[in-house]
Symmetry: C2
Subunit: 338 residues, 2 copies
DNA sequence: TTGTAGGCGTTATCAA
DNA sequence: TTGATAACGCCTACAA
């Protein structure tokens, strides 16, 4: 393990000069610069994160976090992952400014972002795909803030990293699983959050892609519940009543509890195979009651943890992420392996 | 964030004294000791891992690793996880001595352990549950070595940590999944590694527990293949020929490829639902050919990574593990979410 | 353009 | 029994 001091000694210059070369601070003669650079390459110099971390204590870096988690239990685990990681990193002087807001509103997000401006060194955000937000993200990036998009990407922006899942694959997996667990023919009713949400559309796309291969599987109806349980309850009830042939219910986003309650209200639980996403407490409850057969799980805790880890490594250890997309696998959860 | 220096100043003693108290090096008057201890408690002092890491560079800690990985592709991913993590920690001065051996032999394990004695500060081991090995593990622990058991526990020993899965639950999950994907009745043939291996016995136990709830599911035959593909091929062939009523094949350990080849040789692939463990390349191949329906996955990469992480945090950051068992979930993998 | 020196927090050695 | 000091690797302000 080579250190700056060693490089300096071997090049016959001071540590300061080597540091200037490494961190591109300028004010180094081209010759000495090249000398140092060659030595660095030759000895495969790598900065020691512990040294950096210690040195970084003087900055007290701050991470701004913006997540529309209020009223959406999926994010509870994401936030738990964030907070656990934050606690671990606190000792290094890394602090967080956590903003959990309710629902998806460009206006609200912009407001929080304005508040965070100038106060943070990194930003973790579950962004709306709105040009105004994209724009703000780019502004943060330009001002040197490290930006991680969480659970929903904004790849039109210049964010450094995305942590989340492959939504298309989530739908495909659900579709394949459904074909495994369904005896004979399936008439599928779909309840989705909103076709305005990219992730929901992609899941549906993946699901359809896999389902359409099988002539015994038909999608009978698709309704949107806006991720709201009451709306979900009404829409599901209506759907099942209008289409008594439905024997599979696929719930693509939130509102799982409302949909299940509708099934129970109609006493249809024994005639329906229900598939959903995520293991929020109410969903687990419905799995325990054998109402929901299986769900697709997107590692929410690890998503939160990973986002914080990336920020920590960048800000404190001076390590840039090795890849820009950190994708969690879509797992299949049944009651037994929750 | 309080530092040793601050504690020292507030107590009117030197940093050296505070360090002596914290690390219980003795040679401190009881009064000053209590003074310091109270201050530490009051200010909730927590050591800064970066400081420790920097200081630890002087020791150049070494991790011994002993895994019977040769000829067992399951461990390829475990080792990949170990090596990736080791690479990351190299810069901190942490080095590894990796011993990958072939097969499970107490003698061979003892030999390696003897070789490692005195050379290592931590040990990661996939141990045989033999009193001789347990004894050696305890010797290492007593001499101050941090010991992590990997993928197979030795909880009769005083090892610090176990990283692995819950085998009983793996079997239960497989059993539950099987009941979901099987139409009507199932006559199950089971190929297991060896009843001498605790993990295999536990998987079988969990599987039976779940299967026995359902009168339509019967276990027809159980054979052991000693984790060997050729043996697996022969035993499976024989089993299927002797029991033409078998319509489900459950492979509890290695030898998946051999078993599948037997099925193919008998041209039985369309009449059998096959379930197995782990996603080794040959198993994935069989999944792509639609011979194997699903497998239970035990996060091998993460197991290796986690074991190294625990060692790193202990040796370099001076952080003791928060729990003694680090259990990975049993995941269900189908072709789509591999 | 380059070098020096001090500090981040912890540990270890030596002197008192 | 205690204190002073240097070292781990990096960064930065200031001096040359």
């Amino acid at each position: 393990m080579v250190t700056i001091k060693q490089i300096a000694d071997l090049c016959g210059v001071s540590r300061g000069t080597v540091d200037r070369v490494i961190n591109e601070r300028g004010n180094v003669k081209t010759e000495t610069r090249n000398l140092v650079l060659n030595m660095i390459k030759k000895l495969e110099y790598q900065p020691n994160p512990a040294g950096k971390a210690l040195s970084a204590r003087k900055h007290n870096p701050v991470v701004g976090i913006l997540i529309p988690a209020k009223g959406n239990p999926f994010f509870d685990d994401v936030i738990r992952g964030i907070k656990t990681a934050a606690e671990k990193y606190k000792i290094y002087g890394l602090n967080i400014l956590l903003h959990s807001i309710r629902g998806y509103s460009t206006e609200a997000q912009l407001q929080i972002l304005a508040k965070l401006k100038g106060k943070i060194n990194a930003l973790i955000i579950n962004p709306i795909n709105d040009p105004l937000i994209i724009n703000k993200i780019n502004e943060f990036v330009d001002s040197g803030v490290f930006v991680v998009t969480l659970n929903n990407d904004a790849d039109e922006s210049r964010r450094h990293c995305y942590v989340g899942t492959n939504y298309v694959n989530g739908g495909e997996t659900a579709g394949a699983l459904l074909q495994m667990i369904t005896k004979e023919k399936a008439n599928i009713g779909i309840i989705m959050g909103s076709s305005k949400v990219l992730g929901h559309r992609q899941r549906l796309e993946g699901f359809k892609y896999n389902i359409n291969k099988n002539p015994d599987f038909k999608i009978v109806d698709i309704q949107e519940n806006d991720d709201d349980d009451i709306c979900s309850y009404d829409k599901t009830k209506e759907m099942i009543m209008h289409h008594p042939e439905i024997n599979v219910l696929f719930i693509v986003a939130a509102g799982v509890y409302g949909a299940c309650r509708a099934v129970l209200a109609l006493n249809k639980q024994d005639q329906l195979t229900i598939l959903a996403f995520d293991t929020v407490p109410t969903t687990v409850e419905m799995m325990k009651k054998h109402i929901i057969k299986a769900v697709i799980y997107q590692h929410p805790y690890r998503q939160g943890q990973r986002a914080m880890q990336l920020v920590f490594e960048y800000l404190v250890n001076g390590i840039s992420p090795d890849k820009s997309k950190h994708i969690m696998k879509n797992e299949i959860k049944i009651l037994e392996n929750l």
